[in-house]
Protein backbone atom coordinates (compact mmCIF):
# COMPACT_ATOMS: atom_id res chain seq x y z
CA UNK A 1 0.00 0.00 0.00
CA UNK A 2 2.78 2.39 0.93
CA UNK A 3 4.58 1.35 -2.21
CA UNK A 4 1.46 2.14 -4.13
CA UNK A 5 1.15 5.59 -2.64
CA UNK A 6 4.75 6.39 -3.48
CA UNK A 7 4.06 5.37 -7.01
CA UNK A 8 1.25 7.84 -7.02
CA UNK A 9 3.47 10.74 -6.13
CA UNK A 10 5.97 9.61 -8.75
CA UNK A 11 3.18 9.42 -11.23
CA UNK A 12 2.11 12.93 -10.40
CA UNK A 13 5.36 14.26 -11.78
CA UNK A 14 4.48 12.72 -15.14
CA UNK A 15 1.07 14.33 -15.32
CA UNK A 16 0.59 18.01 -16.01
CA UNK A 17 -3.14 17.95 -15.35
CA UNK A 18 -5.10 15.48 -13.21
CA UNK A 19 -8.87 15.70 -13.14
CA UNK A 20 -10.80 13.50 -10.71
CA UNK A 21 -14.55 13.06 -10.50
CA UNK A 22 -15.18 16.50 -11.91
CA UNK A 23 -18.79 17.57 -11.97
CA UNK A 24 -19.81 20.93 -13.37
CA UNK A 25 -23.38 22.15 -13.52
CA UNK A 26 -24.38 25.04 -15.75
CA UNK A 27 -27.88 26.40 -16.01
CA UNK A 28 -29.20 23.58 -13.82
CA UNK A 29 -27.92 20.78 -16.04
CA UNK A 30 -24.70 18.81 -15.54
CA UNK A 31 -22.22 19.66 -18.29
CA UNK A 32 -19.52 17.37 -16.94
CA UNK A 33 -20.46 14.41 -14.79
CA UNK A 34 -17.80 12.74 -12.63
CA UNK A 35 -15.13 13.16 -15.28
CA UNK A 36 -11.63 11.81 -14.56
CA UNK A 37 -8.60 12.13 -16.78
CA UNK A 38 -4.91 12.87 -16.76
CA UNK A 39 -2.80 14.83 -19.19
CA UNK A 40 0.90 13.86 -19.45
CA UNK A 41 3.55 16.57 -19.53
CA UNK A 42 5.26 17.84 -22.65
CA UNK A 43 2.67 16.49 -25.07
CA UNK A 44 -0.02 17.84 -27.33
CA UNK A 45 -3.39 16.56 -26.21
CA UNK A 46 -6.33 17.04 -28.51
CA UNK A 47 -9.65 17.59 -26.79
CA UNK A 48 -12.19 16.70 -29.42
CA UNK A 49 -15.91 16.57 -29.44
CA UNK A 50 -18.95 18.17 -30.98
CA UNK A 51 -20.06 21.59 -29.94
CA UNK A 52 -21.87 21.34 -26.61
CA UNK A 53 -19.88 18.32 -25.43
CA UNK A 54 -18.30 20.23 -22.54
CA UNK A 55 -14.87 21.04 -24.01
CA UNK A 56 -14.88 24.70 -23.08
CA UNK A 57 -16.30 23.99 -19.61
CA UNK A 58 -13.55 21.43 -18.96
CA UNK A 59 -10.90 23.90 -20.11
CA UNK A 60 -12.33 26.69 -17.98
CA UNK A 61 -12.34 24.37 -14.99
CA UNK A 62 -8.69 23.45 -15.60
CA UNK A 63 -7.73 27.13 -15.90
CA UNK A 64 -9.65 27.81 -12.68
CA UNK A 65 -12.26 30.29 -13.92
CA UNK A 66 -15.21 27.88 -13.81
CA UNK A 67 -17.37 27.30 -10.76
CA UNK A 68 -17.04 23.58 -10.06
CA UNK A 69 -19.67 21.56 -8.21
CA UNK A 70 -17.45 18.70 -7.06
CA UNK A 71 -14.24 16.87 -7.86
CA UNK A 72 -10.62 17.95 -7.89
CA UNK A 73 -8.28 19.30 -10.53
CA UNK A 74 -4.53 19.48 -10.12
CA UNK A 75 -2.31 21.35 -12.52
CA UNK A 76 1.47 20.91 -12.12
CA UNK A 77 0.76 19.43 -8.70
CA UNK A 78 -1.25 22.45 -7.51
CA UNK A 79 -5.02 22.88 -7.22
CA UNK A 80 -6.45 24.47 -10.38
CA UNK A 81 -6.85 28.21 -10.00
CA UNK A 82 -3.99 28.54 -7.47
CA UNK A 83 -2.27 31.88 -7.43
CA UNK A 84 1.07 30.18 -8.17
CA UNK A 85 -0.34 28.72 -11.38
CA UNK A 86 -1.39 32.03 -12.87
CA UNK A 87 2.05 32.73 -14.33
CA UNK A 88 2.65 29.11 -15.33
CA UNK A 89 -0.44 28.63 -17.47
CA UNK A 90 -1.56 30.27 -20.66
CA UNK A 91 -5.21 30.29 -21.67
CA UNK A 92 -6.70 31.21 -25.01
CA UNK A 93 -10.47 31.49 -25.14
CA UNK A 94 -12.45 30.66 -28.25
CA UNK A 95 -13.24 34.29 -28.87
CA UNK A 96 -10.07 36.37 -29.21
CA UNK A 97 -9.85 38.04 -25.80
CA UNK A 98 -7.74 41.05 -26.68
CA UNK A 99 -8.42 44.78 -26.91
CA UNK A 100 -9.67 45.88 -30.32
CA UNK A 101 -8.86 49.51 -29.67
CA UNK A 102 -5.17 48.89 -28.97
CA UNK A 103 -2.43 47.87 -31.38
CA UNK A 104 -1.02 44.33 -31.36
CA UNK A 105 2.10 45.55 -29.62
CA UNK A 106 0.17 47.60 -27.05
CA UNK A 107 -1.97 44.57 -26.20
CA UNK A 108 1.08 42.40 -25.68
CA UNK A 109 2.90 45.12 -23.74
CA UNK A 110 -0.03 45.34 -21.33
CA UNK A 111 -0.40 41.62 -20.76
CA UNK A 112 3.37 41.32 -20.36
CA UNK A 113 3.29 43.80 -17.49
CA UNK A 114 0.44 41.92 -15.83
CA UNK A 115 2.34 38.63 -16.03
CA UNK A 116 5.66 40.22 -15.14
CA UNK A 117 7.47 38.65 -18.10
CA UNK A 118 10.66 40.23 -19.49
CA UNK A 119 10.18 43.03 -22.05
CA UNK A 120 11.99 40.97 -24.70
CA UNK A 121 9.07 38.54 -24.59
CA UNK A 122 6.94 40.86 -26.71
CA UNK A 123 9.19 40.53 -29.75
CA UNK A 124 9.63 36.83 -29.13
CA UNK A 125 5.90 36.05 -29.21
CA UNK A 126 5.30 38.40 -32.15
CA UNK A 127 7.93 36.49 -34.07
CA UNK A 128 6.60 33.08 -33.06
CA UNK A 129 3.08 33.94 -34.13
CA UNK A 130 4.32 35.77 -37.26
CA UNK A 131 2.52 38.97 -36.39
CA UNK A 132 5.51 41.19 -37.24
CA UNK A 133 3.97 42.87 -40.30
CA UNK A 134 0.85 43.92 -38.36
CA UNK A 135 2.40 44.59 -34.94
CA UNK A 136 1.66 48.32 -35.12
CA UNK A 137 -1.95 48.00 -36.25
CA UNK A 138 -5.06 48.21 -34.14
CA UNK A 139 -6.37 44.73 -33.38
CA UNK A 140 -9.87 45.80 -34.41
CA UNK A 141 -8.62 46.33 -37.97
CA UNK A 142 -7.17 42.82 -38.29
CA UNK A 143 -8.76 39.72 -39.78
CA UNK A 144 -10.34 37.11 -37.53
CA UNK A 145 -7.36 34.79 -37.95
CA UNK A 146 -4.90 37.52 -37.08
CA UNK A 147 -6.91 38.50 -34.00
CA UNK A 148 -6.90 34.95 -32.72
CA UNK A 149 -3.14 34.85 -33.23
CA UNK A 150 -2.80 38.00 -31.12
CA UNK A 151 -4.80 36.20 -28.44
CA UNK A 152 -2.46 33.22 -28.76
CA UNK A 153 0.61 35.46 -28.64
CA UNK A 154 -0.62 36.94 -25.36
CA UNK A 155 -0.90 33.43 -23.91
CA UNK A 156 2.71 32.68 -24.91
CA UNK A 157 4.08 35.58 -22.86
CA UNK A 158 6.16 34.39 -19.93
CA UNK A 159 6.67 30.98 -21.59
CA UNK A 160 3.98 29.09 -19.63
CA UNK A 161 4.43 25.39 -18.89
CA UNK A 162 0.83 24.52 -19.62
CA UNK A 163 -1.16 25.99 -22.50
CA UNK A 164 -4.91 25.57 -22.70
CA UNK A 165 -6.11 26.56 -26.15
CA UNK A 166 -9.80 26.58 -27.00
CA UNK A 167 -10.26 26.06 -30.74
CA UNK A 168 -7.21 28.09 -31.74
CA UNK A 169 -7.32 27.12 -35.41
CA UNK A 170 -11.00 27.62 -36.12
CA UNK A 171 -11.64 29.60 -39.29
CA UNK A 172 -7.99 29.78 -40.31
CA UNK A 173 -6.81 29.16 -43.83
CA UNK A 174 -5.05 25.80 -44.31
CA UNK A 175 -1.57 27.28 -44.70
CA UNK A 176 -1.87 29.19 -41.45
CA UNK A 177 -3.31 26.16 -39.71
CA UNK A 178 -0.30 24.05 -40.68
CA UNK A 179 2.00 26.81 -39.45
CA UNK A 180 0.18 27.00 -36.13
CA UNK A 181 0.42 23.26 -35.61
CA UNK A 182 4.15 23.52 -36.31
CA UNK A 183 4.30 26.19 -33.63
CA UNK A 184 2.39 23.98 -31.17
CA UNK A 185 4.79 21.12 -31.91
CA UNK A 186 7.82 23.30 -31.27
CA UNK A 187 6.31 24.48 -27.97
CA UNK A 188 5.78 20.87 -26.91
CA UNK A 189 9.34 20.06 -27.97
CA UNK A 190 10.45 22.83 -25.62
CA UNK A 191 8.65 21.00 -22.82
CA UNK A 192 5.26 22.72 -22.70
CA UNK A 193 2.06 20.75 -22.26
CA UNK A 194 -0.68 21.74 -24.69
CA UNK A 195 -4.35 20.96 -24.30
CA UNK A 196 -5.98 21.96 -27.57
CA UNK A 197 -9.66 21.68 -28.29
CA UNK A 198 -11.16 21.34 -31.71
CA UNK A 199 -14.31 20.12 -33.34
CA UNK A 200 -12.41 19.40 -36.54
CA UNK A 201 -11.57 15.71 -36.35
CA UNK A 202 -8.83 16.13 -38.99
CA UNK A 203 -6.70 17.98 -36.51
CA UNK A 204 -6.65 14.99 -34.20
CA UNK A 205 -3.88 13.32 -36.12
CA UNK A 206 -1.51 16.13 -35.25
CA UNK A 207 -1.87 15.44 -31.52
CA UNK A 208 0.04 12.97 -29.37
CA UNK A 209 -3.00 11.88 -27.47
CA UNK A 210 -6.72 12.33 -27.79
CA UNK A 211 -9.52 12.98 -25.37
CA UNK A 212 -12.80 12.41 -27.14
CA UNK A 213 -15.63 14.07 -25.28
CA UNK A 214 -19.34 13.62 -25.86
CA UNK A 215 -22.14 14.84 -23.62
CA UNK A 216 -19.70 15.53 -20.80
CA UNK A 217 -18.25 12.01 -20.72
CA UNK A 218 -15.08 10.58 -22.23
CA UNK A 219 -15.41 8.35 -25.28
CA UNK A 220 -11.67 7.90 -25.49
CA UNK A 221 -8.46 8.71 -23.65
CA UNK A 222 -5.78 7.17 -25.78
CA UNK A 223 -3.07 7.82 -28.35
CA UNK A 224 -4.21 8.59 -31.88
CA UNK A 225 -2.86 5.19 -32.97
CA UNK A 226 -4.66 3.50 -30.11
CA UNK A 227 -8.03 5.03 -30.90
CA UNK A 228 -7.74 4.12 -34.59
CA UNK A 229 -6.63 0.59 -33.74
CA UNK A 230 -9.44 -0.08 -31.28
CA UNK A 231 -12.03 1.10 -33.76
CA UNK A 232 -10.33 -0.50 -36.76
CA UNK A 233 -10.37 2.61 -38.91
CA UNK A 234 -7.91 5.20 -40.15
CA UNK A 235 -10.25 8.12 -39.75
CA UNK A 236 -10.83 9.86 -36.43
CA UNK A 237 -14.35 10.93 -37.35
CA UNK A 238 -15.19 7.31 -38.12
CA UNK A 239 -13.55 6.22 -34.87
CA UNK A 240 -15.71 8.68 -32.99
CA UNK A 241 -18.86 7.17 -34.50
CA UNK A 242 -17.75 3.61 -33.82
CA UNK A 243 -17.00 4.42 -30.21
CA UNK A 244 -20.54 5.76 -29.84
CA UNK A 245 -21.92 2.64 -31.53
CA UNK A 246 -20.03 0.16 -29.42
CA UNK A 247 -21.07 2.05 -26.29
CA UNK A 248 -17.85 1.37 -24.45
CA UNK A 249 -15.18 4.03 -24.06
CA UNK A 250 -11.56 3.43 -25.05
CA UNK A 251 -9.75 4.52 -21.91
CA UNK A 252 -6.06 3.76 -21.98
CA UNK A 253 -4.26 6.41 -19.99
CA UNK A 254 -0.49 6.63 -20.41
CA UNK A 255 1.69 4.59 -18.11
CA UNK A 256 2.92 7.65 -16.25
CA UNK A 257 -0.58 8.88 -15.44
CA UNK A 258 -2.46 5.58 -15.25
CA UNK A 259 -1.98 4.65 -11.61
CA UNK A 260 -3.01 8.08 -10.56
CA UNK A 261 -6.35 8.14 -12.31
CA UNK A 262 -7.19 4.55 -11.38
CA UNK A 263 -6.70 5.17 -7.72
Amino acid sequence: MIQHMMNNSDAASGAAIIVQDLTVVRGGAPVLDRLSLAVPRGRIIGLLGPSGSGKTTLMRAIVGVQVVKSGTIEVLGLPAGSRALRTRMGYVTQQASVYDDLSVRQNLAYFRRIIGAPASDIDRVIERTELGPVAGRLVGSLSGGQRSRVSLAAALLGAPEVLVLDEPTVGLDPVLRVELWALFRSLADDGATLLISSHVMDEAKRCDRLLLLRDGALLADDTVQGVLQVTATDDVEQAFLRLIERDEPDLRPTRETKRRTER
Partner: protein
Protein backbone atom coordinates in the same frame (compact mmCIF):
# COMPACT_ATOMS: atom_id res chain seq x y z
CA UNK B 1 -2.34 44.95 -4.51
CA UNK B 2 0.42 45.66 -6.97
CA UNK B 3 1.21 49.17 -8.23
CA UNK B 4 2.74 48.00 -11.50
CA UNK B 5 -0.43 46.17 -12.47
CA UNK B 6 -2.69 48.99 -11.29
CA UNK B 7 -0.79 51.61 -13.30
CA UNK B 8 -0.44 49.28 -16.29
CA UNK B 9 -4.23 48.88 -16.27
CA UNK B 10 -4.86 52.60 -15.90
CA UNK B 11 -2.44 53.29 -18.77
CA UNK B 12 -4.06 50.66 -20.91
CA UNK B 13 -7.58 52.05 -20.33
CA UNK B 14 -6.40 55.56 -21.21
CA UNK B 15 -4.61 54.17 -24.28
CA UNK B 16 -7.86 52.60 -25.45
CA UNK B 17 -9.78 55.82 -25.01
CA UNK B 18 -7.06 57.85 -26.72
CA UNK B 19 -7.62 55.86 -29.89
CA UNK B 20 -11.24 56.91 -29.85
CA UNK B 21 -11.19 60.68 -30.47
CA UNK B 22 -14.92 61.06 -30.51
CA UNK B 23 -15.29 59.52 -27.06
CA UNK B 24 -12.62 61.82 -25.68
CA UNK B 25 -14.37 64.84 -27.16
CA UNK B 26 -17.78 63.75 -25.85
CA UNK B 27 -16.41 63.04 -22.40
CA UNK B 28 -14.78 66.42 -22.09
CA UNK B 29 -17.42 68.58 -23.70
CA UNK B 30 -20.86 67.10 -23.00
CA UNK B 31 -21.20 68.17 -19.33
CA UNK B 32 -20.24 71.72 -20.26
CA UNK B 33 -22.74 71.79 -23.10
CA UNK B 34 -25.50 70.65 -20.77
CA UNK B 35 -24.55 73.23 -18.16
CA UNK B 36 -24.63 75.83 -20.91
CA UNK B 37 -28.09 74.65 -21.93
CA UNK B 38 -29.41 74.97 -18.38
CA UNK B 39 -27.89 78.45 -18.07
CA UNK B 40 -29.57 79.44 -21.32
CA UNK B 41 -32.98 78.07 -20.20
CA UNK B 42 -32.86 80.33 -17.13
CA UNK B 43 -31.10 83.25 -18.78
CA UNK B 44 -34.01 85.63 -18.07
CA UNK B 45 -34.36 84.56 -14.43
CA UNK B 46 -32.16 84.24 -11.34
CA UNK B 47 -32.58 80.49 -11.01
CA UNK B 48 -29.23 79.54 -12.50
CA UNK B 49 -27.47 80.97 -9.46
CA UNK B 50 -29.38 78.45 -7.33
CA UNK B 51 -29.23 75.35 -9.50
CA UNK B 52 -25.96 75.99 -11.38
CA UNK B 53 -23.82 74.40 -8.66
CA UNK B 54 -26.09 71.33 -8.67
CA UNK B 55 -25.61 71.03 -12.42
CA UNK B 56 -21.85 70.87 -11.89
CA UNK B 57 -22.56 67.93 -9.58
CA UNK B 58 -25.04 66.28 -11.88
CA UNK B 59 -23.71 66.07 -15.41
CA UNK B 60 -20.15 64.85 -14.81
CA UNK B 61 -21.56 62.36 -12.29
CA UNK B 62 -23.97 60.86 -14.82
CA UNK B 63 -21.50 60.82 -17.70
CA UNK B 64 -18.76 59.16 -15.64
CA UNK B 65 -21.19 56.60 -14.25
CA UNK B 66 -22.29 55.53 -17.72
CA UNK B 67 -18.89 55.52 -19.37
CA UNK B 68 -17.26 53.57 -16.56
CA UNK B 69 -19.95 50.97 -16.15
CA UNK B 70 -20.17 50.27 -19.86
CA UNK B 71 -16.43 50.03 -20.41
CA UNK B 72 -15.96 47.54 -17.59
CA UNK B 73 -18.94 45.57 -18.80
CA UNK B 74 -17.36 45.48 -22.24
CA UNK B 75 -14.25 44.02 -20.68
CA UNK B 76 -16.36 41.34 -19.06
CA UNK B 77 -18.15 40.45 -22.28
CA UNK B 78 -15.09 40.41 -24.53
CA UNK B 79 -13.37 37.76 -22.42
CA UNK B 80 -10.47 40.02 -21.53
CA UNK B 81 -11.55 40.18 -17.89
CA UNK B 82 -11.55 36.40 -17.70
CA UNK B 83 -8.12 36.33 -19.26
CA UNK B 84 -6.80 38.93 -16.81
CA UNK B 85 -8.23 37.07 -13.83
CA UNK B 86 -6.57 33.85 -15.02
CA UNK B 87 -3.33 35.86 -14.94
CA UNK B 88 -1.74 37.20 -11.76
CA UNK B 89 -4.04 40.22 -11.85
CA UNK B 90 -5.39 41.34 -8.48
CA UNK B 91 -9.07 42.16 -8.39
CA UNK B 92 -8.26 45.39 -6.58
CA UNK B 93 -5.59 46.23 -9.17
CA UNK B 94 -8.14 45.91 -11.91
CA UNK B 95 -10.80 48.09 -10.29
CA UNK B 96 -8.30 50.65 -9.06
CA UNK B 97 -6.67 50.84 -12.48
CA UNK B 98 -10.04 51.74 -13.96
CA UNK B 99 -10.75 54.21 -11.17
CA UNK B 100 -7.39 55.94 -11.78
CA UNK B 101 -7.87 56.16 -15.53
CA UNK B 102 -11.39 57.52 -15.34
CA UNK B 103 -10.48 59.62 -12.34
CA UNK B 104 -7.89 61.40 -14.47
CA UNK B 105 -10.46 61.97 -17.19
CA UNK B 106 -12.87 63.23 -14.54
CA UNK B 107 -10.34 65.86 -13.45
CA UNK B 108 -10.10 67.27 -16.97
CA UNK B 109 -13.82 67.01 -17.55
CA UNK B 110 -14.59 68.79 -14.29
CA UNK B 111 -12.02 71.50 -14.90
CA UNK B 112 -13.67 72.27 -18.22
CA UNK B 113 -17.19 72.11 -16.77
CA UNK B 114 -16.38 74.37 -13.79
CA UNK B 115 -14.52 76.88 -15.97
CA UNK B 116 -17.36 76.91 -18.47
CA UNK B 117 -19.99 77.39 -15.77
CA UNK B 118 -18.09 80.20 -14.08
CA UNK B 119 -16.53 82.11 -16.93
CA UNK B 120 -18.88 81.45 -19.82
CA UNK B 121 -22.26 80.99 -18.12
CA UNK B 122 -21.47 83.55 -15.45
CA UNK B 123 -22.20 81.30 -12.45
CA UNK B 124 -21.41 83.35 -9.34
CA UNK B 125 -19.14 81.60 -6.88
CA UNK B 126 -18.78 83.44 -3.56
CA UNK B 127 -16.54 80.85 -1.94
CA UNK B 128 -13.23 79.25 -2.95
CA UNK B 129 -13.00 78.11 -6.56
CA UNK B 130 -10.48 75.49 -5.48
CA UNK B 131 -12.91 74.00 -3.02
CA UNK B 132 -15.59 74.01 -5.70
CA UNK B 133 -13.25 72.19 -8.03
CA UNK B 134 -12.27 69.66 -5.35
CA UNK B 135 -15.89 68.78 -4.58
CA UNK B 136 -16.75 68.60 -8.28
CA UNK B 137 -13.86 66.22 -8.99
CA UNK B 138 -14.82 64.03 -6.03
CA UNK B 139 -18.36 63.99 -7.37
CA UNK B 140 -17.26 62.86 -10.85
CA UNK B 141 -15.07 60.21 -9.20
CA UNK B 142 -18.12 59.09 -7.27
CA UNK B 143 -19.86 58.53 -10.61
CA UNK B 144 -16.90 56.41 -11.72
CA UNK B 145 -16.84 54.39 -8.50
CA UNK B 146 -20.58 53.72 -8.53
CA UNK B 147 -20.33 52.80 -12.21
CA UNK B 148 -17.63 50.24 -11.40
CA UNK B 149 -19.80 48.80 -8.67
CA UNK B 150 -22.93 48.70 -10.84
CA UNK B 151 -21.18 46.90 -13.68
CA UNK B 152 -20.26 44.12 -11.26
CA UNK B 153 -23.95 43.31 -10.97
CA UNK B 154 -24.86 43.74 -14.62
CA UNK B 155 -24.73 40.87 -17.05
CA UNK B 156 -25.67 42.78 -20.17
CA UNK B 157 -25.58 46.24 -21.68
CA UNK B 158 -29.34 46.42 -21.18
CA UNK B 159 -28.94 45.89 -17.47
CA UNK B 160 -26.13 48.39 -17.13
CA UNK B 161 -28.12 51.09 -18.86
CA UNK B 162 -31.03 50.41 -16.50
CA UNK B 163 -28.80 50.67 -13.48
CA UNK B 164 -28.49 54.33 -14.33
CA UNK B 165 -32.16 55.17 -13.66
CA UNK B 166 -32.04 52.81 -10.71
CA UNK B 167 -28.93 54.16 -8.98
CA UNK B 168 -28.57 57.66 -10.37
CA UNK B 169 -32.08 59.03 -10.82
CA UNK B 170 -33.27 58.67 -7.20
CA UNK B 171 -30.18 60.56 -6.10
CA UNK B 172 -31.01 63.36 -8.52
CA UNK B 173 -34.68 63.45 -7.51
CA UNK B 174 -33.86 63.51 -3.81
CA UNK B 175 -30.74 65.68 -4.08
CA UNK B 176 -32.52 68.97 -3.48
CA UNK B 177 -32.64 70.21 -7.07
CA UNK B 178 -36.40 70.01 -7.50
CA UNK B 179 -37.29 71.09 -3.99
CA UNK B 180 -34.96 71.81 -1.09
CA UNK B 181 -34.24 68.61 0.83
CA UNK B 182 -35.64 69.98 4.11
CA UNK B 183 -39.04 70.34 2.43
CA UNK B 184 -39.17 66.66 1.47
CA UNK B 185 -41.55 64.32 3.35
CA UNK B 186 -39.87 63.03 6.49
CA UNK B 187 -39.06 59.53 5.19
CA UNK B 188 -37.59 60.81 1.94
CA UNK B 189 -35.58 63.47 3.70
CA UNK B 190 -34.02 60.78 5.89
CA UNK B 191 -33.12 58.76 2.80
CA UNK B 192 -31.73 61.80 1.02
CA UNK B 193 -29.42 62.44 3.97
CA UNK B 194 -27.65 59.19 3.15
CA UNK B 195 -27.34 59.53 -0.60
CA UNK B 196 -23.84 60.53 -1.72
CA UNK B 197 -24.99 62.92 -4.44
CA UNK B 198 -26.84 64.95 -1.77
CA UNK B 199 -23.52 65.61 -0.05
CA UNK B 200 -22.00 66.78 -3.33
CA UNK B 201 -24.90 69.08 -4.16
CA UNK B 202 -24.99 70.50 -0.62
CA UNK B 203 -21.27 71.16 -0.68
CA UNK B 204 -21.29 72.78 -4.12
CA UNK B 205 -24.22 75.02 -3.20
CA UNK B 206 -22.51 75.99 0.03
CA UNK B 207 -19.30 76.91 -1.79
CA UNK B 208 -21.21 78.90 -4.40
CA UNK B 209 -23.12 80.89 -1.78
CA UNK B 210 -20.23 80.89 0.71
CA UNK B 211 -22.84 79.95 3.31
CA UNK B 212 -20.81 77.42 5.32
CA UNK B 213 -17.31 77.13 6.74
CA UNK B 214 -14.50 75.36 4.91
CA UNK B 215 -14.57 72.65 7.63
CA UNK B 216 -18.26 71.96 6.98
CA UNK B 217 -17.58 71.59 3.27
CA UNK B 218 -14.51 69.43 3.88
CA UNK B 219 -16.64 67.14 6.04
CA UNK B 220 -19.08 66.71 3.15
CA UNK B 221 -16.15 66.09 0.83
CA UNK B 222 -14.84 63.35 3.14
CA UNK B 223 -18.20 61.59 3.10
CA UNK B 224 -18.08 61.54 -0.71
CA UNK B 225 -14.54 60.17 -0.57
CA UNK B 226 -15.72 57.46 1.82
CA UNK B 227 -18.44 56.49 -0.66
CA UNK B 228 -15.83 56.33 -3.43
CA UNK B 229 -13.50 54.12 -1.40
CA UNK B 230 -16.39 51.94 -0.24
CA UNK B 231 -17.68 51.42 -3.79
CA UNK B 232 -14.23 50.53 -5.08
CA UNK B 233 -13.63 48.05 -2.26
CA UNK B 234 -17.06 46.51 -2.71
CA UNK B 235 -16.58 46.44 -6.48
CA UNK B 236 -13.36 44.48 -6.16
CA UNK B 237 -14.82 42.09 -3.61
CA UNK B 238 -17.77 41.30 -5.84
CA UNK B 239 -15.48 40.57 -8.81
CA UNK B 240 -15.32 36.79 -9.19
CA UNK B 241 -12.44 34.83 -10.65
CA UNK B 242 -14.69 31.82 -11.08
CA UNK B 243 -17.97 32.27 -12.90
CA UNK B 244 -20.80 29.77 -13.46
Amino acid sequence: MNLTRTFATAGRVLGQIRHDHRTVALLLVVPSLLIGLVAWIFVDTDYFTDIGPAMIALFPFIVMFLVTSISTLRERRSGTLERLLSMPMGKGDFILGYALAFGLLAVFQTAIAVSFAVWVCGLEIEGSLWLLFAVAVADALLGTALGLLASAFARSEFQVVQFMPLIVFPQILLGGIFIPRDQLPEGLEAISEWLPLSFAIDALQAVAADSESAEWITAKLLVIVAWIVGSIVLGSITLRRRTP
